[in-house]
């Protein structure tokens, strides 16, 4: 449990674990923050075709996913995020969805 906010600290999701050696001059925490920032950017590209978006909460340990009408859910990790996204979008977020893939394949051209 976090001694400051009383939040229960759960197991770190496999996709968020630090694997391999740290980069020179970069701490694990800095790497974790950079990875979370990049993850949020990718997640927003994936969620956009479903009219959803997400951001990190202030503590940097949770994600907030929401729709355009203001409905939001706070989740701990990617597994919870996908479940919440399915609920908020009223359709399953599908990584094989043609519309999503076409959007992502155009991502690099959008930058």
């Amino acid at each position: 449990m976090c001694v400051l906010c009383g939040d229960l600290v759960g197991e770190v999701h496999w996709a968020e674990r630090t694997l391999g050696p740290s980069s020179a001059g970069s701490s694990d925490e800095a790497q974790r923050r950079q990875a979370r920032f990049k993850r949020a950017r990718i997640l927003n590209r994936v969620l956009a075709p479903y009219q959803l978006s997400m951001h990190e909460d202030l503590s940097g340990t949770r994600y907030v996913v929401g729709d355009r009408k203001g409905a939001q859910e706070v989740v701990r990790d990617l597994d919870e995020l996908w479940t919440a996204a399915d609920r908020l979008a009223h359709v399953p977020v599908d990584p094989l969805d043609e519309r999503l893939l076409a959007t992502l394949e155009g991502s690099s051209a959008d930058r």
């Binding site: 496999w14 391999g20 990584p95 893939l101």
Partner: protein, 311 residues
């Protein structure tokens, strides 16, 4: 608390009478005190415990049904018993646990249940699913019994048994049938037996199907990587793929090259994903094999690459 290395888990499966116990006895050889065995018998009373008992640290029998369905919870209890005895120091130098399934069991739900168990997942790492296929009757069993096909498709490694009793043409026909399913064959020889339970070289021994192989509505893709992947984008993709299509993902296994990190071993069974591991061996080929049911292997490959572009 003393840190212990996770126990390596090997699942030996194969259709009724294919030679699973014989294979296990050969693997155990004159005695392997570092191995414990869970034997699953479809019948109420089994004989395998007597055949194996003296050659390993401990045998637990789960009888009266298949480990993949009605006896799955009992298998988990057996593994917890072994783990408890190990933690108390009663099993000496235990390093491996082998589950020998019944002849009708589907190995994937067993692996999934262990992966999802809140305790066992931290104490076991999946070594390999080894499937024994009978050279005499295997071709017919694969044609007639979906259980036999599921066992073959689940395999990291196929061992063909009874080749000394079969005609060479029979063995070739069986190998062709297995190749059609998208799995490679290991021809029996004295060397692999002791090696089957080895803790090292797991990834080198993975039997990887080639791209495009299929049977019925099962497809496989072998995705090769000529440049490192963005690990964050890969994590987003794989977590969503497993979430959305876990039931259809019979297996995802292999090694991916992650930019700035190195080689990472991936091992997923349906909705369950073993925590990816960083591996040091540069000799391991970087490719990811996806075996899926009712899903397009080409779409999965395209999806992986599209998520990489979003990074």
């Amino acid at each position: 608390m003393t840190h212990r290395e996770r126990l390596r888990l090997t699942v030996i499966t194969g259709f009724l009478g294919s030679g699973k116990t014989t294979l296990l006895r050969r693997a155990l050889g004159d005695g392997r005190p570092d191995v414990a065995v869970v034997v699953n018998e479809f019948a109420d009373a089994g004989v395998d415990q007597e055949l194996i008992g003296g050659a390993c640290a401990w045998v637990v029998t789960v009888s009266g049904g298949c480990a993949c369905c009605e006896r799955r919870e009992e298998v988990l209890i057996a593994l917890r018993q072994i783990l408890d005895a190990h933690e108390r120091g009663r099993l000496g130098a235990l390093r491996h646990v082998v589950i020998e399934t019944s002849g009708l069991a589907d190995p994937l739900p067993i692996v999934t249940a262990i992966t999802l168990d809140p305790v066992l997942r931290h104490h076991f790492k999946l070594g390999a699913v080894v499937t024994v296929v009978d050279a005499l009757d295997g071709e017919e069993q694969l044609a007639l019994h979906p259980e036999a096909r599921r066992q073959a498709l689940s395999a990291d490694r196929i061992v063909v048994s009874k080749t000394d009793l079969a005609e060479p043409a029979q063995v070739k026909a069986l190998e062709a049938k297995l190749a059609g399913l998208g799995v490679s064959v290991v021809t029996p020889a004295p060397e692999p037996w002791a090696d089957l339970l080895s803790a090292s070289g797991r990834h080198e021994r993975v039997a990887l199907p080639e791209a495009g192989a299929h049977t019925g509505n099962v497809t496989s893709a072998s995705i090769k990587f000529d440049q490192p992947l963005d690990w964050v984008a890969f994590g987003v993709w794989l977590s969503l793929l497993v979430h959305a299509h876990g039931l259809g993902l019979l297996r995802i296994k292999g090694v991916v090259p992650a930019a700035g990190i190195g080689s990472i071993a991936i091992n997923a069974v349906q909705h369950a994903l073993y925590p990816p591991e960083h591996i040091d061996s540069p000799a391991v080929p970087a490719r990811l094999v996806v075996i899926a049911q009712d899903l397009s292997a080409d779409s999965i490959t395209r999806s992986l690459l599209a998520f990489q572009r979003a990074a």
